[in-house]
Symmetry: D2
């Protein structure tokens, strides 16, 4: 039998349940979970803030594990055969169709209507399709990456789903060598963005966030300056960023907060003709009032929404954390590991910002 | 003596005054005005809605005329000598410095703080530095373009300052062959954008505006559909654009209205992963409430403010209207020509949307 | 029975053979051919110049026809159901995998190694997988587009495979409003490029090619100038283009010749910091000597190879020819229609440049 | 008096001459030289391989020194006043006009025909306009940057003119996080490119060059692999790069060799749909034969020539070396410092590749 933590309905405590060992259809893989991530999205799921979620679900979208069984020959995207015992991760986003208008004409695969996501849009009734489980069933066609030898499962999961999200955000940001980058938010996406901004050529990184422990983490991973939002109000924050950037504002700002007012603030802390990437507004948290004359048009500002991530972001993320993970000490992001039975505690700790990164170790 | 219409102060009627014939410093040019444009900016100037305007001014930023006198040898940007009698226009934006951070590092010359603009930021006390005058004094270094033979002064002025503004907006829009483009606004910028969208490869152009006469003009210049904002409310307009675009929204939307709420509407009538160019918010007309989750992040939307225009837009605009002006019947935009003495009437007619384009013929 | 023209082996005459009416697997479509194109690639196929072709084949990669039968419900990429009698075309490129490194990481689907192409890489032994046939078997997953009502099959086939190829080339060219564009080659790709350059904003289009009849066609579809390569040598051609472009060279040059020396010439007829798209070197026709200092580095030149086309180019091409086909009189490209029995004659006429576009009408 | 090393004519030994202390026109600055660079261009100048050089010249285009005197108030591009004693460097490229077609329409300022370059296109008869001199005369308008406190003159000059050149090349390369980058050449531009590729997000950098000492330097600054061209022939090098990159070739290749055949090799060691930046072909060193089918078109390759650098590259370079100079140990590039009297020896050592970087300390 396989034990998994099941979120039966919004607001209700998760329970550990047992599932039978699955049979594999051809091309499927069974992964024995080493770690699965707990992220802000799981808190949203628990509050019922996402539409169309088929509760009960097994949460956990980014995970890492050993291959326990394969049904036939299965390869990774580079055509290399996978084997039992390989330490792998996989893209949680599944079923991007490759046949619809968004996939083929817009080439905006993160807006493909057929997308399904492990740990979010699959029901526990459909199988072991989430990571908070001793085993995960990878359907045929799920894209698998073998971790490079130099990358430990712990370091990989520490980067978590914030890594591909931030890779996508940085792709949208198009940082140039010598740029200044302001990052709004000091959670997993914000911290990853602060690291990736440096790796993309920024020579100045400013992180605007809270609480203090996360800002210290931001400094530890190389941010040049932090602005504590518990200490400074919105206008002061904008002024502080401007003072740090020759009174012009940051060349690039990356919003990773989830708070609508941060969007206005981000426009204002970006310099004229700069770029502002909005990646943190994952759920509907209300509106914000902007002045299109001052905040967009006269600034000649470029604002780029950034939704989800695709395989390329995931693949590039693995390369980046394999190469630079040690330098940035990613493991420090993991504040605590939790058993399946402790899943409710993990959710509570993430919600209360007690941890930077919580990890389930089934 | 030279007669010019002078705007002495906001809200006060313009008066025609006489100025002495100017002496030319080396490199200067005196242009005998054929036509000068009346545009929405002139209405804003008359209402005192722009900051830092050194009243009294001679309005008129885009103009066309004959060279009456030159002080020494003066060339255009291609190095060709200019001569008396040449029919020329000139870039109203002057003194872009080429030495500041915005010019050299950001390469965002429309945000150069040294910019001065004929007809807007020069005082009448400094000379004949606006187009509502029998003669215009071109300071050394003002960038001059000789109209190609096939381009009449009338057709050029009909395109007016809306042309380079729209060229810039279309540059930001990056239309691809086969795109659908929604244009918000049916004034001079909107109509130019509707034309340029077609010339940039769009196969479907939808103009959302009013009044009826302007929408008919939009259809006459090739728009495929028009949406009358006097007939449909904001939500209906969004729905109508979606219905015309396979329920996805326009690939690209160009805002050219001046109304803040149009910015929200424009986000909503653009498809996921589309582009939305905000070019019409030239003055501060208040705020608009947006939902960053639905309107920016989840849509993976790209929003681009577009401020002013530079010489390249002006130069490209002349090429475009020389080549295609006849096809689009630009002259029709000119609803009426006004003498200097009728400048107040011209302003009133523009403000009341009685005309598409008003032209001063000194 | 279904009659088709079969190319049994390189250099051997094609023969018309009869095939049984195929049974359809679920999701397949049988198309009754109206027209199929004869293009330069078919001549290359007949000379055995492409590697890996599984002779015998039924040539014909771009075709148009009626849906005769469908196996179950089949939709187009916009999700609209297809029906018997619909006039459709389809993307000849099939089996782009969506799972390999080139599809997912490089996002360069025209380099996907799994691609198969109707009329080229499918054997006649595998079925009715080419257009020179009374019927074409569309495998499940082949991407189908219903022709818009305003687009006749004749006009569509006149544009032919040169249209998506040229759409792709123009996408790589990134023409701006007011650019000058030189097109090398006056065959189907070159003529389409000359049209699309205009539709993309070019205000000057120069076509360099031969023979005279094709240059006249170039002028008829709106080219501003033509340069006859039978009349002028390589250096003269470069000089002529420079003289037409203020002695700078074209802003953008598009090579569509198949002749290696045209690549050197194209570099030289492009202005400093211009863009040069190489789309015509479809087969190995030898080498060319370039001077990297003068022709690339000092010019600050951008050279872009352009291979194949994907669904977006095909889809955009249909939109463009539906909208603008009448204006450009595409039907004129069809010099002659041939029966299946005349396929050898069609190939000979294409090879000898006797026709602009040959079409098989089975 | 001021001593300077003068190159009287090609091939002739340089001589140290004395010049009078210059008087300053308003806006001019006199810099007391700390270091000036010796680079490959100076060797080309000594061989007479550049056209239009007004011998006699004082070589030395990138230099650093103290401000000895200023004529009036002079500011840097950010508007900050400069003072006596400031440690400054300056952009050698002067007189970019800001008024010509290339500056204004193409926005390709490195192709502005009015450009003059300190140490290259100014004659010694015109003044102290090169860096191999105890003092350098900065004309009004020369763009000056004050070194940040954390950046020593030694570290700055170690990066030298290879830094802005490589910044420009990397701008053209558009490296993405996780890319593999091959750098051809291990001289100052190549080594800077190897560093900047890492700072731009590459997770794999391969340097192809010689001699062994430079390759060791490449490894010391973080290259993952080196390929010794004295050990491997052209085909082997291409194969080696492919083997290091999953048999696809590098995502991006940067040519920095000066050898025409490297251009062919670079095309071949880049993956399909990759980018290849040609920056090393600074002088005419002959031709190379390429096959446009295999090397450009079928590869869907993008080739970008990269000429010179502008102020933004220089400015960004200073930011980058100030931030990361210590990490990469830039000082190691300086193999030896030479007095003015040893200028001939410095040139000889550079030509014979005995040094990575030679520096004049007047």
């Amino acid at each position: 039998m396989v034990k998994a933590a099941v979120m039966g309905a919004p607001q209700k405590p998760l329970k550990v349940q047992e599932f039978p060992q699955p049979e594999l259809e051809p091309g499927a893989i069974l992964v024995e979970t080493i770690y699965s991530e707990v992220c802000g999205t799981d808190v949203h799921l628990h509050h019922g803030q996402l539409a169309g979620v088929p509760y009960p679900i097994i949460p956990g979208h980014v995970s890492v594990g050993h291959i326990a069984r394969l049904a036939g020959e299965v390869t990774d995207v580079e055509g290399n055969a996978l084997h039992e015992g390989d330490v792998v991760t996989f893209l949680d986003v599944h079923e991007t169709c490759g046949r619809c208008w968004f996939c083929l004409v817009a080439k905006a695969t993160t807006r493909c209507p057929s997308r399904r996501v492990y740990g979010i849009t699959y029901s526990a009734d459909e199988g072991l399709l989430g990571g908070w489980s001793q085993a995960i069933y990878l359907k045929p066609g799920v894209k698998v990456i073998r971790l490079p030898e130099e990358l430990t499962p712990e370091r990989f999961i520490a980067a978590g789903c914030g890594l591909p999200t931030a890779i996508h955000a940085l792709e949208r940001a198009q940082v140039q060598l010598g740029d200044s980058v302001a990052v709004q938010g000091s959670g997993p996406v914000g911290l990853n963005a602060a690291i990736l901004a440096q790796l993309s050529g920024a020579t100045q990184v400013i992180v605007v966030g809270a609480p203090q422990a996360r800002l210290e983490m931001a400094l530890a991973v190389g941010a040049d300056h932090v602005v504590d939002i518990e200490q400074y109000g919105p206008e002061e924050r904008v002024t502080l960023v401007q003072e740090l950037t020759s009174r012009r504002g940051a060349d690039i700002t990356i919003e990773a907060t989830g708070n609508p007012v941060a969007v206005l603030e981000g426009m204002q802390m970006t310099r004229d003709n700069g770029r502002f990437v909005v990646v943190g507004q994952y759920t509907d948290a209300g509106t914000v009032e902007v002045n299109p004359h001052w905040d967009i048009n006269r600034k000649h500002l470029e604002i780029r929404g950034c939704w989800g991530s695709d395989f390329s972001h995931f693949y590039r993320g693995v390369k980046v954390v394999a190469k630079h993970g040690e330098r940035f000490g990613y493991e420090r992001f993991i504040s605590r590991k939790y058993s399946l039975e402790e899943a409710n505690q993990a959710l509570a700790d993430v919600e209360e910002l007690k941890v930077v990164k919580a990890v389930i170790e089934p």
